[in-house]
């Protein structure tokens, strides 16, 4: 008779052999070739490399090789480096609180070596001979002298060859390579002063010369179009310092591929950062679209916990609210001020073009001066200087307008407007543009506490549904702040005796009804925050002139008004206001370089 399994004698507890421990650790640290690459590259960088050459074969499944020109190791150190928790970076537990180098867990090389066919060749400056170590599945096969240049060359072959269960989970070479490339991009962006080469299956994928600043690296990686639409971020509160570049909405994607965050130089995400970024772009981009963003967050090492995620992909902040607020402010300052970093441009007005500014440009609406931009700190915890944006001349804040002067060419489909600018062609959606203009006017007036309100002749009585009436009653104070003269007349009827000046020409009935519907749907956070875009949106829908074709004079006024806004590229609800078609792009489309 068979006994139930639970009745069998318990297996004796055994201490796991090192090789198994390493394999288990490998499960945490090494997921796929990309994670191997990450560990190796960070080791190379920690060794002071100025050039890192990476080679992968078959998406990294057959080979991941990283060669650097860093300090290299002598034989003892080389052997130590492949022992579990052997690390030159961590001696006591308290050191964990002030981790400033990139790789620190000490288990990486040992783990990788335990699940691959591993070779390491390393040499120090001036040493007679280098060391070569060969390890198969965690077992040292050979340690011998080898002639080698200064630096370290690690090759990881046939990852998981001895762990079929994990090898099975590797994806196609193409998918694995996508991950490899993503890791490469992050490292290349994090260390712009280092020369990087990525070769895949014997072909060059990237050759990135050492760059002076992030912008050059971004240009090398993503092309001039993306780089041309970035604004430098420089803001901080003395503790948390934010740097990098924020993209402008004409460029956006449906995924976060273009959004990269570095916390103390380490590529890392955090829900706090994602939330802050979304918040900063909330009235600029439609939900679900992401602008290019290369964000650097620097803060004292004791305010961030990097040891949360085994693969170090995520960090935790000790003061999340503060970090979030500083990030939001930093990005909003960046995308609302300053001019696009562009190449040389012919600034002489062209014949027949109108200057978009007939008066000196308005200063930013926000009290930007209250936060003098702090240059990114050369953090004691962060020896890399590469991130500092190129110095910006201390000129007066330039308008964010996508054109300095323009010519009105005409209309498409009776709806969209075509403009010629010095840079090419601009298509404008008047309704979105109008929403943006209204929104910023209301916002500006509200911030000054002076919303001009046009009296109505005679006051209108507006009847709404009971639910609408409840919403209006709840927000009467807010409506007054927004410039509405609305009074409860009883029986779900309201007396409207004034409207915000800029939308005073519209019929009060439909306007109030739409506003009530918007208030009913609500939004996130304080009513003030979402009520403004709501009013702008409703006003845009109701606005005079958008049921017919705008006259030239109205269009000129709109273009001028839009060019004066802080964020001329999108409506407050995130729809694009303009589509820019640069001459460069036109030349390319016509095959003229």
């Amino acid at each position: 008779m068979l006994e139930p399994a639970s009745m069998t004698a318990p297996a004796p507890i055994r201490v796991l052999p090192d090789a198994v421990i390493n394999q288990i650790a490998a499960g945490e640290v090494v997921e796929r070739p990309a994670s191997v690459l990450k560990e190796l590259v960070e080791n190379a960088i920690d060794a002071g490399a100025t050039r890192v050459e990476i080679e992968v074969v078959d998406g990294g499944r057959r080979l991941v090789r990283v060669r650097d020109d860093g300090s290299g190791m002598d034989r003892d150190n080389a052997l130590l480096s492949i022992e579990r928790h052997a690390t030159s970076k961590l001696r006591e537990l308290k050191d964990l609180d002030s981790i400033a180098t990139l790789g620190f867990r000490g288990e990486a090389l040992a783990a990788i070596a335990s699940v691959s066919q591993f070779s390491l060749v390393t040499n120090r400056e001036g040493a007679a001979a280098g060391t070569e170590i060969l390890i198969f599945g965690g077992k040292i096969q050979d340690v011998r002298d080898a002639g080698a240049p200064r630096g370290t060359d690690v090759a990881v072959r046939n990852l998981f060859f001895n762990v079929p269960a994990r090898r099975k989970f590797l994806r196609s070479a193409q998918t694995e390579f996508t991950h490899v490339r993503q890791t490469f991009l992050l490292e290349a962006l994090a260390h712009v002063g280092i020369e990087f080469v990525l070769r895949a299956d014997d072909a060059d994928v990237y050759r990135l010369p050492a760059a002076d600043n992030l912008l050059d690296r971004v240009r090398d990686l993503y092309g001039p179009e993306v780089a041309g639409h970035l604004r430098p971020i420089r803001f901080g509160n003395g503790v948390v310092e934010i740097g990098g570049y924020a993209g402008l909405p004409p460029f956006s994607r449906l995924d976060r591929e273009w959004q990269v965050t570095f916390v103390n130089g380490r590529p890392a995400g955090s829900p706090v950062v994602n939330f802050a970024v979304q918040n900063a772009y909330r009235d600029v981009l439609v939900g679900g679209r992401y602008a290019p963003l290369f964000l650097r967050v620097d803060l004292p090492a004791d305010l961030v916990d990097v040891n949360v995620h085994p693969a170090k992909k995520e960090v935790r902040f000790r003061r999340p609210t503060e970090v979030r607020d500083v990030i939001v402010e930093a990005i909003r300052l960046a995308i609302s001020g300053g001019e696009l970093p562009r190449g040389k441009r012919d600034d002489t007005p062209r014949e027949g073009m109108r200057p978009a500014f007939s008066a000196p440009p308005a200063a930013p609406l926000r009290p930007a001066a209250a936060f003098a931009p702090v240059p990114p700190p050369v953090a004691a915890t962060q020896p890399k200087l590469d991130w500092a944006p190129p110095p910006v001349p201390a000129a007066a804040p330039a308008p964010a307008a996508p054109w300095a002067e323009y010519r009105l060419l005409g209309r498409v489909g009776g709806q969209y407007v075509v403009l010629e600018t010095a840079d090419g062609l601009v298509l404008m959606d008047p309704r979105s543009a109008h929403e943006r203009v209204l929104y910023e006017r209301l916002l500006g007036a509200m911030e000054k506490g002076q919303v001009p309100s046009q009296g109505l002749l005679p006051p209108a009585t507006v009847a709404v549904s009971p639910t609408q009436a409840a919403a209006l009653r709840k927000h009467l104070g807010l409506l007054k702040e927004l410039g509405f003269g609305v009074a409860d007349f009883g029986a779900d009827t309201f007396l409207v005796d004034a409207l915000p000046t800029w939308i005073a020409g519209v019929a009060p009935g439909p306007l109030l009804s739409d506003v009530a519907d918007g208030l009913l749907q609500g939004g996130k956070g304080a009513a003030r925050d979402w009520a403004l875009p709501l009013v702008a949106d409703v006003a845009g829908r109701q606005a005079v002139g958008f049921q017919r074709e705008l006259t030239d004079a109205e269009l000129h006024a709109l273009v001028r008004d839009l060019s004066r806004t802080e964020m001329p590229y999108t409506s407050p609800r995130g729809k694009p206001t303009v589509i820019l078609l640069g001459l460069r792009e036109l030349h390319r489309k016509f095959g003229r370089e």
């Binding site: 009776g414 919303v451 001009p452 046009q454 009296g455 002749l457 002139g545 049921q547 017919r548 008004d561």
Partner: protein, 364 residues
């Protein structure tokens, strides 16, 4: 149909009617002008279905008939003719052959059977008014009409025939313009008619300076007959807001000002009002007016002018465009502004029968 017409007369008539044609209409025949030749006359008609304009000119009719031809093309052809007279021969297939001096044109038309008929006007009320006076009343008021398509009533200009006078009113609920004129009509012809703005604009363009105008009205249609022109328009249906209740009964304090001086002063200061709606502030002190426009990030503009005023100091803000509109339309030398306080409407008057009520802008 076969006619001989004078080039200039033809151009003159086509100019008067073709602005009615909607350049983007769905029915091709509506891009055409209806031509009817009969008994020494040629009638030209254009319509957008709501508004129809007909002009008549003398022509030598060799063979009576009717057709429709593309308005823009016919106009272009006649404008470029090198001789004074053209002969037009239209076949039964609506193909027009135009011979003028050494030029020859052949233009394809569409059968008049496809062209909409002029609406019937059964038992209309009839009014006779002076052309020039009527045109002036329209000019004095029509700028005040709303252009918001959501408010069809206010998109029109009200012609109110009541108590022996014609009141012409336009408002967009921020200002209201009213002009009045004595007109004789029987008591049973007291009517309120709301005329669409497009029709008013057409009238302002085509009405002459001399002679009278005959207005025929039914509850749904209105027709204007003058010179050799007939304009027939749909009316806006509905009841116009009671404009009398909007005009303040109490007069308040009266300021007398030179119209031209005020207009230019407001125009100058409003240069700084970037969005044309932030308002200019008018401060009245004894015999003095200061007009101030400020734009926080741009600067300010200040004008002072002499006025006739003895009341207490008063300051009030208006939309400069709304203040300028009546000043531009008026021709009198002096205007009067009646003010109560900074939140009550200002009332602008002149020596003629004209009232303009303007709501101030207040800052909350």
């Amino acid at each position: 149909m076969k006619i001989k017409v004078n080039k200039e007369a033809m151009i003159d008539c086509l100019q008067k009617i073709q602005s009615v044609i909607n350049p983007r209409n769905a029915l091709p025949v509506l891009s055409n002008v209806l031509m009817k030749a009969e008994a020494g006359k040629l009638e030209l008609t254009a319509t957008d279905m709501s508004l129809t304009v007909r002009a008549t000119l003398d022509a030598e009719v060799l063979e009576a008939g009717t057709t429709t031809l593309p308005a823009k093309r016919i106009f272009g052809v006649f404008r470029e003719l090198s001789v004074e007279e053209a002969e037009m021969d239209v076949s039964d297939q609506n193909v027009a052959s135009i011979q003028a001096g050494s030029s020859y044109f052949r233009i394809h038309g569409i059968s008049e059977a496809d062209y909409p008929n002029l609406p019937e006007m059964a038992d209309p009320k009839v009014y006779v008014v002076d052309q020039a006076a009527f045109r002036n009343m329209l000019k004095l008021t029509s700028y005040g009409a709303s252009v918001d398509a959501n408010r069809p009533l206010l998109n029109g200009v009200l012609l109110s025939f009541k108590a022996g006078k014609l009141s012409v009113v336009a408002t967009d609920s921020r200002r209201l313009a009213l002009a009045e004129h004595e007109v004789e009509f029987p008591a049973d012809a007291e009517l309120d008619l709301i005329v669409p703005l497009k029709t008013v604009e057409e009238l302002v363009r085509t009405l002459g300076e001399n002679g009278t105008l005959k207005i025929l009205a039914t509850p749904k249609q209105i027709a204007f007959e003058f010179d050799r022109i007939l304009i027939v328009s749909k009316l806006v249906e509905g009841t116009y807001p009671n404009f009398r209740q909007v005009i303040p009964q109490a007069n308040g304090e009266r300021v007398a000002m030179e119209r031209e001086t005020l207009l230019t002063a407001v125009r100058r200061t409003s240069q700084l009002v970037i969005d044309a709606v932030s308002g200019v502030k008018l401060t009245f002190t004894k015999n003095r007016l200061e007009i101030l426009a400020t734009a926080p990030e741009i600067g300010e503009a200040r004008e002072t002018m002499d006025v006739k005023y003895k009341g207490p100091d008063i300051a009030i803000s208006f939309n400069p465009a709304f203040l300028m509109d009546p000043l531009k339309a008026l021709t009198t030398d002096e205007v009067y502004l009646d003010l109560m306080d900074d939140t009550s409407p200002g009332v602008l008057r002149s020596s003629i029968s004209f009232v303009y009520v303007l709501m101030p802008i207040r800052v909350s």
